[in-house]
């Protein structure tokens, strides 16, 4: 190992996509990871943002190409463009908002159905700072204090994550708690083999071309159509 430290570590690109309901903190997680920064009352992402950040592992360097998508319903039809050929996905929910976990489960199901078979998915419960565990010891399960805004227990989400074979973390983008850990865990979970197959944006891009016609934003909108016939 001593001599391998001097040699340049192998470096590979990993396409990672963030999905989840609006206002759960996807952009804030990315901002914390990429910039180690946090903004209160951040305005909603429009469309999607593309950022990169390196993650150093003992044996190799992973360069994350991060697609931070907007959570609003009207952008849902664009999501396949971002998760297609992605090697990793972060599905984020808000610990204080039960509907956001429902939405997260939908995203997990869609990824398992439509994304690359080997995709590494992490389920992330954000806004831990709003709960009593916010201080840092994520394992503690205190519960009933009046200041606790938690609506989704760790067990509930963890059990679901285990059933589906997902990585699971509870984080706070505000305090930075567990944020880097999520990305490091993903980097470690990516199999060496999949790193060789897709290197760099060009590769994933070229592959993306074949499925160009799959989504059509100009066509009739699914969400609205559903809304239309729901009652």
């Amino acid at each position: 190992m001593a001599d391998s430290a001097n040699a340049p570590k192998p470096s590979s690109s990993v396409k990672l996509v963030l999905l989840g309901e609006a206002a759960v903190g996807k952009s804030s997680l990315v901002l914390r990871f990429v910039n180690n920064d946090f903004q209160e009352n951040k305005e909603p992402t429009i469309g999607a943002a593309f950022l990169t950040q390196k993650c150093n592992l003992p044996t190799r360097t992973i360069k994350f190409e991060i697609w931070d998508t907007a959570g609003q319903e009207r952008f849902a039809s664009l999501a396949p463009m971002y998760y297609r050929n992605a090697q990793a996905a972060l599905v984020v929910y808000d610990l204080t908002k039960p509907t956001s976990l429902v939405k997260a489960k939908h995203w997990v199901a869609e990824l398992q159905r439509q994304a690359s078979p080997g995709i590494v998915i992490a389920l992330v419960g954000n806004k831990l700072d709003l709960t009593n565990d916010g201080a840092g010891s994520g394992a503690a399960e205190s519960g009933d204090d009046s200041g606790d805004a938690r609506k989704i227990t760790t067990e509930e989400a963890k059990t679901y994550a285990e059933e589906e074979g997902l990585l699971f973390f509870e984080t706070s983008a505000k305090t930075g708690y567990n944020v880097t850990e999520v990305f490091t865990a993903i980097a470690n979970a990516i199999p060496e083999t999949s790193l060789k197959s897709a290197r760099g944006p060009g590769a994933s891009h070229a592959a993306g071309r074949t499925e160009e016609q799959r989504v059509n934003l100009n066509g009739p909108r699914d969400p609205n159509a559903k809304e239309g016939c729901a009652c």
Binding site: E43, P44, I46, F50, A70, E73, V215, L217, N224, E227
Partner: protein, 614 residues
């Protein structure tokens, strides 16, 4: 105002003694001056004085001299109702004269060859020596200085206009407090569906405004039902303007004195923002299937875009007023080399390419067949520079949006990247926190292909590399940091405090620096905001007068108590300028002429003419 002269003469005289010393009347024999200010019956002979004035001023049409002052007021400031800038009850006697003088400036424009030169050359400005002396001493008075108290400016509380109304959860605020706060706002925008569902309101949350929305919907529907759509109405000093766009009602409520057509174009911009999010077919579909749909869900996340757009109107946006864009001033050769670098790096995915620094256009490349519409660019600039959503995230952005003036039926895809200190790096480093948006340089690449992100990113990387290699990036940064041109550098010696110049052919405008006259004192942001709004209100009035229906004005010179202003329109340009209240028309027109000459000389630096075409 004339009728009560006798009854209220003693009262108004007392007022005059307490009020700040009235401005020197614009034109009067110095011997007359004293009498006019002291005699109790000062207001009675107003008409007589005016007519004497007018006859000596050789009005071409003799009958005009007999116009009553109130009629003249109506001509010179048709939209004065809401602003209260020159309210008849407050106006000192000299105000009447000022008004009649401004009417006078209509006269030469009726001559076929009438232009500013003839205005200046004519015998209209003959003044007594004493008056010239007096005026030269007071010419340094800046616009709006005389009204420092803010009284009567109609802007009381404007510095708190953009404060949030506290949430219902905030302790110690009753509903009455919140309603009072809501009512104190000088400007409201509301959007609702024809079924009465609230969609957007600039101020106040749903619980607060729901009943108001209901009232608004009832009123509008009543007129819709009678097949006589309601366009607008006035209550007190508040103007309500209604616009109906298919299933949507837009309402602007303003105490800031804008004209109906100005408010209507603001509402239109809000509608364009909604179309830009949804496209027209989608919007129609939503309401065809379910007229009672709550549009807030499909529009989720765009409230901040609507609000930043609305606030830019409330603060007063020259760009929105003139329907034109501002460009970064660059040498022709510099802009040429930027355009060329840009054109060379493009690929066939690119529809439009723009480089923008601090909200000012630096370079545009476009296909020969298509040009960009200012209203579409206004939406893009609002998204990138006024609302924080895009630039706050750092990185590169890929945004589906509809440009309604280009095509309201489908989406285009916009790549946005802010240049940072190190443009060569392929990975977009996070943009540093900047308090000021003046020096932010963005590259905007628009494509019709939603899969073309990496193609456009490649253009961006190459362009960034090229611009930094040939020094253009440094030039852009320096030009952006240099700010807008200052008047002394444009027209040395001119007494003009500020101007807007619109090049009609290019649909672009330039303006002088707001510093120092409208920059407020130091970091006093509220004062700055109020000073700028006063200036913009004046421009709005000038613009409304010039563009009112059936007026074919070429030149308009207005003198108020607190500022003098001049508007001048030709097929080539529109010029609006503002000076202190005591500037003579002669001095003002000389300054205006200098500005025009400067703009003509600098045309290729100030404006993008054609842009890079492929």
């Amino acid at each position: 105002m004339v009728p009560d002269a006798d009854a209220g003469s003693s009262g108004s005289n007392a007022n005059d003694l307490q009020a700040p010393p009235p401005l020197p009347p614009r034109r009067m024999l110095s011997t007359e001056r004293g009498t006019l200010q002291v005699t109790p019956a000062q207001s009675t002979p107003t008409t007589a004085v005016s007519s004497v004035d007018i006859s000596t001023l050789s009005f071409p049409d003799g009958s005009r001299g007999t116009f009553t002052t109130s009629a003249m007021r109506a001509v010179s400031t048709p939209i004065n109702t809401g602003s209260g800038r020159v309210s008849p009850s407050l106006g000192p006697p000299s105000g009447d004269l000022a008004e009649s003088m401004s009417v006078m400036s209509f006269a030469p424009t009726m001559k076929p060859a009438g232009d500013l030169a003839s205005l200046v050359a004519g015998g209209l400005n003959r003044k007594s020596r004493a008056w010239q002396l007096l005026r030269s001493q007071s010419a340094t008075v800046q616009p709006f200085q005389t009204r420092d108290t803010g009284m009567g400016s109609g802007l009381t509380g404007f510095e708190r206009e953009f404060d949030n109304i506290p949430d219902i959860t905030v302790q110690g605020t009753t509903d009455d407090d919140r309603v009072a706060l809501w009512k104190s706002k000088l400007k409201h925008y509301m959007i609702l569906s024809s079924a009465g569902k609230p969609i957007y309101s600039r101020h106040g949350d749903l619980s607060l405004i729901n009943s108001s929305m209901g009232v608004v919907q009832t009123i509008i529907s009543f007129y819709e039902g009678a097949k006589d759509p309601l366009m607008g109405f006035t209550a007190g000093n508040t103007r309500f303007v209604v616009a109906t766009e298919g299933p949507l009602y837009f309402v602007a409520i303003s105490k800031l004195g804008e004209s109906d057509s100005q408010l209507r174009s603001q509402l239109d911009a809000l509608y364009m923002q909604i179309l830009s999010t949804l496209t027209l077919p989608t919007l129609k579909n939503i309401f065809v299937h379910r007229p009672s749909t709550d549009l807030r869900k499909p529009l989720e996340g765009t409230e901040s875009l609507l609000s930043s757009l609305a606030d830019s109107f409330t603060k007063g946006s020259p760009s929105a007023l003139l329907g034109a864009l501002e460009c970064l001033r660059l040498r022709k050769s510099q802009r040429h080399s930027i355009n060329n670098a840009f054109l060379k790096m493009r690929n066939d995915k690119l529809l439009y390419g723009l480089i923008v620094a601090g909200g000012k256009l630096v370079s545009v490349i476009r296909p020969r067949k298509h040009s960009l519409h200012p209203s579409d660019l206004q939406l893009i600039f609002n998204m990138l520079f006024e609302s924080g959503g895009v630039k706050a995230g750092g990185g590169e952005n890929w945004i589906p949006l509809c440009l309604p003036a280009f095509n309201n039926r489908g989406y285009l895809y916009m790549y946005v990247s802010f240049f940072d200190g190190n443009p060569e790096s392929n990975s977009a480093e996070p943009v540093q926190d900047r308090s000021d948006s003046e020096d932010e340089i963005a590259i905007i690449l628009i494509s019709a292909d939603k899969e073309s992100f990496y193609d456009l990113k490649e253009i961006r990387d190459k362009v960034a590399q090229q611009l930094s290699k040939n020094g253009s990036l440094t030039i852009i940064k320096a030009a952006a940091a240099g700010g807008r041109p200052k008047i002394p550098a444009i027209a040395a010696g001119a007494q003009i405090s500020h101007f807007l110049y619109k090049s009609r052919a290019n649909v672009q405008f330039c303006m002088s620096s707001l510093e120092p006259a409208f920059g407020g004192s130091g970091d006093d942001e509220p004062a700055k905001m109020v000073a700028r709004r006063k200036l913009m209100s004046l421009y709005h009035q000038l613009h409304a007068s010039m563009h009112a229906k059936h007026t074919h004005l070429k030149v308009l010179h207005c003198v108020g108590e607190d500022a003098a202003s001049l508007a001048w329109i030709t097929p080539i340009f529109e010029l609006y300028c503002v000076a202190g209240p005591n500037i003579s028309r002669q001095v003002m027109t000389q300054g205006a002429n200098k500005i025009i000459q400067w703009a003509k000389k600098e045309e290729e630096r100030l404006f993008i003419i054609g842009g890079g075409v492929f």
